[in-house]
Amino acid sequence: MIRSLIIDDEPLARSIVKEYLQQQNEIEVLQECNDGYEGVKAIMQHKPHLIFLDIQMPKINGFEMLELLDEKPSVIFTTAFDEFAIKAFETHAVDYLLKPFTRERFQKALEKFYSQAPVQKKNTEELLQSSTQLSTQTERVVVKTAGKIKIIPIPEILFLEAADDYVKIHTKEGSFLKNKTMSFFENTLPQEQFVRTHRSYILNVQEITRIDPYEKENHLAVLRSGARIPVSKNGYGKLREVLGL
């Protein structure tokens, strides 16, 4: 039996998926979720093989929800997003269904799932890597902390620190781990505000109070919070450029 979830904020949109699934004896719907928060909880609880996921939802959108999961199920997007915007993800998701969709089209998506099931996990990872192009993602970062979901607006980030496979996001309210790479943040954060000053550090230039020389050609940036961030020779050049020194 294939376990599945339907995540969409419109009851009627969920009911059409459910209706189409009724003919599928091998797929069961474990739960319907109203938003991304419920989705995360239900996925961790049920560990489904397949989810039907809307993109535009309250609280956190479909992409942000996927980012929070350690083990990612296969995804079929159901969305009214225009085709243009969703094209980028075509190769990574099992399939995407543009609302409204027919039973035949739905069936085709399921067949794709059956035929590609083993490679799906990797694809969902790739999907999230490429989701950086989505402009809506650059206003905030969504993290999970002690079972709760936290939304960090970009301007509230003080600095980022590499931590093994994670990146530690430092804010006034504490620090949070996100399973992304430093280069991901380097490429997606607004470049006029965030500078990678060191292999392991990216800092918010608006937080800098002063920059002190430190050992050889290195420097230390002192932030308003008192944190001292290493600045390499290369990073110092980038920093001067952004600050217009």
Binding site: D9, E10, P11, L12, A13, S15, I16, E19, N34, D35, Q56, P58, K59, I60, A80, F81, D82, L98, K99, P100, F101, I151, P153
Partner: protein, 252 residues
């Protein structure tokens, strides 16, 4: 002696050369003014040219925005999806919604910018829009529309209130999870039609300053183009309510 002699000669020269000096002075002033007139004309021309191209660019953008605004693909496709779901389970509701959607689209296509319409007509049109949203989110959307100007024949430019209400739906309905109420109130104050739209928002995901998104800045811009005033659109936050107020001067 020599000095005086030279001085008188100089005086003579001075008086005899007066016309010539005047002529030279005049020429210099003439040239100066000519140059400055030319310079200012060129400058003005450049300014006009710049304004013209800017205005053209703006109107092109407005045209595009209007098209997008009218079509609202997201709203349209989601509504069609709801109809698709209703056909299976509640066909009579599906028919009803097709009718509402058609009436709404027809009303939208009929509207032209810069055209004034009656408040009654605008509220009816908005009501259609809200009824459709109620089918999609019926379990959690309720609306309160009150009009204290009945019989006063109030008028407003087309496509002005609609984006305000759409903005309220976006932040108040699409981006929230609980039961919500959207209030629209129309009243008359000092010869102005005052329209107030109230919607809740999710403080966790929406920072209030984001509330004056593109939807509202375009309303602000239109009010300025129509009335040359910047004080006709106001937004306020009252606890978890976002309040948008627009004032529309009435034509005589």
């Amino acid at each position: 002696m020599i000095l005086i002699k030279e001085a008188s000669e100089y005086e003579r020269f001075f008086s005899e050369s007066t016309p010539v000096r005047f002529a030279i002075g005049f020429l210099v002033i003439g040239c100066m003014s000519l140059i400055s007139v030319l310079w200012y004309t060129i400058h003005d021309q450049q300014e006009i040219e710049k304004r013209k191209s800017e205005a053209e660019k703006l109107s092109r953008e407005a045209e595009l925005y209007k098209l997008r605004q009218q079509l609202q693909p997201h709203f349209l496709f989601n509504s069609l999806n709801s109809i698709n779901a209703l056909i299976g389970s509640q066909p009579h509701k599906a028919r009803n919604m097709i009718q509402q959607l058609s009436d709404f689209l027809r009303g939208t296509l009929k509207k032209e910018e810069n055209q004034w319409i009656s408040l009654d007509e605008e509220l009816q049109h908005l009501n259609l829009y809200l009824e459709i949203e109620k089918v999609r989110f019926g379990h959690r959307l309720s609306t309160e529309i009150s009009d204290q100007t009945t019989g006063l024949k109030m008028q407003l430019p087309a496509m002005l209130l609609q984006p305000v209400v759409e903005n309220a739906i976006k932040f108040g309905l699409y981006d929230t999870t609980g039961d919500i109420t959207i209030c629209i109130n129309a009243s008359k104050q000092d010869g102005h039609l005052v329209l107030q739209v109230k919607n809740p928002f999710d403080p966790e995901t929406t920072s209030p300053k984001k509330g004056t998104g593109f939807g509202l800045s375009s309303v602000q811009r239109r009010l300025y183009l129509l009335f040359a005033r910047n004080d006709l659109l106001q937004t306020a936050i009252d606890k978890e309510l976002f309040i948008t107020t627009i004032k529309i001067p009435q034509q005589k």
